[in-house]
Amino acid sequence: MYFPQQEYIDDSIDANNPDLLRIHSIETLGTHDGPGIRMVVFVQGCQFRCLYCQNPDTLDIHGGTFISIEELIEKALHQKSYFSKKGGVTVSGGEPLLQREKLIHFFDRLHENGIHTCLDSNGRVLDSKTEQLLERTDLLLLDVKHINKDWHKKLTGLKNKTTLRVAEYRESTGKPMWLRYVLVPGWSDQEEYLHEWGQHFTSYKTVERVEIIPFHQMGKHKWEILGLEYQLADTLPPTAEEVNKAAEIFRLYFKNVKIK
């Protein structure tokens, strides 16, 4: 059995204290979620049920631990010198938008301290609070996991409608974003859909980079620990050839395609 869907209840994840963020963990040497060296805050709670999820332990919106925004600011300041010119703080997850109201405050405090902000999101929610948060997000990393709504549903449990709207909204603000794409053999490597994905975003002026993240099995043990059924247990990572082929397709539509 997969981790059950949870109702989106603001209270459960927000608790009552606006200064406390529900997080899973912190990585202080983040080099894969945004530019430079970053402190990455993995928030707890997600409503996507991606078959290939590498962090299934971040799904439960009741899990994780609370940490105050001020403590996070203090930690960020401790490593500010490592951020240098390019780096900063990334909030990843889990799905950060579930805690967007608190993140508005967090990002404001980071900006007060001259720290670059990055949001790594599935684009689950779009409302005025999301808009306010995106206003404070220097760089958005948006995961568009599939361009076809049915495949997206099969792969994540949810449709991609809101994600695409978030992308559209970001484009309208003129602020930069990187699009990310997890390449899973048999699930998200269909040529026609890769083209469709490229065509959909090719005219976007705010997309500075597209990142292809080849599926890997490093999250497998977490599924086992959690006792969850892992449908992709036998799926192999894409070969270098397959990854390059996907990159070639994306390069027809984007100038800057990176393989992670």
Partner: protein, 744 residues
């Protein structure tokens, strides 16, 4: 002296009037701000020569790490005739013995140790040599004749360990550049003037100094003889780049022919040699290929330095290290960089000859280093894991000189001006257990430290433990200082380093380099006692065999001040205690947080500790957080270590850091950029040292299982580098279980 010969022109300065290599460098250095694009590959001669060496190295490994031993000759500067690898291809010559990788006996540190090292190889020391020690005394015998029961107990109960009382202390770096710049005759002249200046009423100090200088003069004369056996005249200064490299090497070779100190370091020769190389390149006398050939072949020779060691030695210094430490880079006080093209050429040897633990290449990192050099260092680290880094901005300002080398692993030494006396280290977790056991050692219960009251039963109280621990540390410091006084007194008397000391100013200032192991265990243990509930589990005679820990507690390595401050405080307390005691030759006490590879041995000799570490488990190396307890990523871990105060541990604070390549970024360019940023920021926080390994755990596991496929796999361990396949299995496993910093 003349500043020009036919082909050399040097800018004159004080170096013409006195022995002052530093001034020569200041006047003549050509700082290089560019990148590595000028570098070239190995010459045909170098390749041929290195192939011969690789064959012999393979034979050595197959033969249990020792190719051959000369059991008849006591090695000194002149005792072996010339040795060659493959004469027609050698542009830099000289071996320690008459045969490649043959090891020689240097028994004045301790004949017993030599005898057992030889016996372990199924050989026997010649009767003639054994007989000599029926009449002569060695360092080891002399030290033990002066030890008291207290020192012996501290030593045998593993409170003080690895003491240089049965092997040579090493660490003294001669200014090997002097022979190239001045030639032997001029150096002898200067030493004779020093001797004459020791005048007036005699004192112990003056008599000793006169004897020392006489020994140094003899050593200089011997060096000339040894060089002559290779057809080289070092009476006069080097007249070109090849000679400068050759003379410098012969000076170093003299030291390692006669001394087998644990660490026999080289200093900082690269930018000095660059002056000659630049000169010859400008005059069109040599090409870049030849310049690189000199350095490749010099470095090749340094890789082949061997000492005769018994098996037990491997426990404290695993992997047969020699610590031919060469400090590269850094800045001058006048704001120019010390980076030259030859700094790059030294690093290039890791490509031209492949990765290697020796020489122990140490980058003196300054935030002002040229970007091209920073990037090249990072690239070399990622490709070879063969470099370590030390904070030049910190050492230069805190210690005062911009002309220094690194002795052994991590220790500052002003070249030609100061020396240090090596002090091994005290086992702090063992001391903590004695504090908790009324001065008894936790294994058998014998009383080691008197006058320590027995703790009350039940949950440990932080303040009482701290009080007891402070009393214990004061006692440890007292006995430690006493033992060091004896050791260095006797070492000077029975195994004086005349070759190195001949290349150092007469009567230099001395640091006595004390050490401490297990600081992260101490921090975590005291943190557990303070923030969780720790109850000792005692056996029937009241000794702690384990600890029950209820609740969580902050752990060193997570950038948490609550525990990081404890590590800092204990370091301060210990050095303050050590400073209260007299040292031989009025040496200045310094402290290192360093373990070499003895962290494994310390662990196996130390019972369970209040941090949850079980008896027998290895300590973390150096000042590293304990394995797997730094859970907030690499930077939190770096931040914790950088809080330790260099003022308290001027002999060095060693941190060995292992990252998987991917955690630095997804491509080489990103990885290089991120690693330089990490180094800039870490050292900007006044951190002292960083060993950088960029390795996959899988690679190490594969090397553990298939050593034959990884003859040159190099990894950085505490303050130095080793061939992974030459470590013992226990050390290999310990390295594999260390924290690998990996992204989620």
């Amino acid at each position: 002296m003349e500043s020009t010969t036919e082909t050399l022109y040097f800018k004159p300065g004080n170096w013409n009037n006195a022995i002052d290599v530093y001034d020569f460098v200041l006047q003549n250095i050509t700082p290089y701000e560019g990148d590595q694009s000028f570098l070239v590959g190995p010459s045909e001669k170098t390749k041929t020569l290195w192939d011969v060496c690789k064959d012999s190295l393979l034979q050595e490994r197959k033969n249990n790490g020792c190719l051959s031993i000369d059991t008849n000759v006591i090695s000194n500067i002149t005792s072996f005739g010339p040795g060659y690898i493959n004469k027609e291809n050698e542009v830099i010559v000289g071996l320690q013995t008459d045969m490649l990788l043959k090891r020689a006996m240097k028994p004045f540190g301790g004949i017993k140790l030599v005898e057992s090292a030889v016996a372990e190889r199924g050989l026997k020391v010649s009767d003639e040599v054994v007989k000599i020690f029926n009449y002569a005394k060695d360092h080891n015998q002399a030290v033990f004749s002066a030890y008291d029961s207290e020192i012996r107990a501290y030593r045998s109960k593993h409170l003080l360990t690895g003491l240089p009382d049965n092997y040579a202390r090493g660490r003294i770096i001669g200014d090997f550049r002097r022979i190239a710049l001045y030639g032997i005759d001029r150096l002898i002249e200067a030493k004779k003037a020093d001797f004459a200046a020791v005048a007036g009423e005699m004192t112990d100090h003056k008599v000793r100094l006169r004897e020392e200088i006489s020994e140094q003069v003899k050593a200089l004369q011997d060096m000339k003889i040894m060089a002559n056996s290779y057809g080289i005249d070092i009476a006069v200064p080097a007249s070109n780049a090849q000679e400068a490299v050759q003379f410098t090497y012969l000076a170093y070779l003299s030291a390692v022919k006669e001394q087998d100190g644990a660490a026999m370091s080289l200093g900082n020769v690269s930018s000095f040699l660059d002056i000659y190389i630049e000169n010859d390149l400008k005059s069109g006398l040599i090409t870049e290929e030849e310049a690189q050939e000199f350095i490749d072949q010099f470095v090749m020779k340094l890789r082949l330095v061997r000492h005769l060691r018994p098996g037990a030695y491997d426990e404290i210094f695993g992997g047969d290290p020699t610590w031919v430490t060469e400090a590269i880079g850094g800045q001058l006080n006048d704001g120019r960089t010390k980076v030259t093209k030859t700094s790059f050429r030294f690093l290039q040897t890791l490509y031209n000859l492949g990765a290697s633990p020796e020489p122990n290449l140490t980058i003196l990192w300054s935030k002002n280093l040229p970007q091209g050099f920073k990037d090249f260092c990072a690239q070399v680290s990622i490709d070879t894991s063969s470099l370590q880094y030390e904070n030049d901005d910190l050492m230069r300002t805190n210690r005062g000189s911009d002309d220094y080398g690194i002795a052994c692993c991590v220790s500052y030494q002003k070249i030609g001006k100061t020396i240090q006396h090596f002090g091994a280290r005290a086992n702090l977790p063992k001391a903590l257990l004695m504090a908790l056991n009324g001065g008894r050692e936790e294994d058998k219960g014998s009383v080691v430290i008197r006058n320590i009251p027995q703790m009350e039963d039940g949950i440990l109280n932080y303040d009482s433990v701290m009080n007891m621990f402070k009393i214990t540390l004061a006692e440890v410091a007292r006995v430690y200082a006493k033992s060091m006084y004896i050791i260095h007194y006797m070492h000077d008397k029975y195994y004086y380093e005349r070759a190195q000391m001949a290349l150092i100013d007469s009567d230099p200032n001395i640091d006595i380099a004390y050490g401490a192991a297990g600081i992260s265990i101490i921090a975590d243990s005291l943190s557990a006692i303070k923030y969780a509930k720790v109850t000792p589990v005692r056996n029937d005679i009241g000794l702690t065999v384990d600890f029950n820990i209820e609740g969580d507690f902050p752990k060193f390595g997570n950038d948490d001040d609550r525990v990081d401050s404890i590590a800092k405080e204990i370091t301060t307390i210990f050095i303050d205690e050590l400073r209260k005691h007299m040292a031989y030759k009025n040496a200045t006490p310094t402290l290192s947080l360093l373990t070499i590879t003895s962290n494994v041995m310390y662990g196996s000799n130390t019972g369970s500790t209040p941090d949850g570490r079980k008896g027998g488990e290895p300590f973390a190396p150096g000042a590293n957080p304990m394995h797997g307890r730094d859970v907030n990523g690499a930077i939190a871990s770096l931040n914790s270590v950088s809080k330790l105060n260099y003022e308290d541990a001027q002999d060095g604070i060693s941190y060995t850091f292992t990252m998987v390549p991917k955690s630095l970024g997804s491509d080489k360019e990103e990885q290089v950029s991120n690693l330089t940023t990490i180094l800039d920021s870490y050292f900007d926080r006044n951190a002292h040292h960083l060993n950088v390994n960029v390795l996959d755990k899988e690679t190490l596991m594969d090397a553990y299982n298939h050593p034959e496929n990884y003859p040159q796999l190099t990894i950085r361990v505490s303050g130095y580098a080793v061939n992974f396949v030459r470590l013992s299995r226990a050390h290999q496993l310990e390295v594999i279980t260390r924290t690998f910093h990996d992204a989620m």
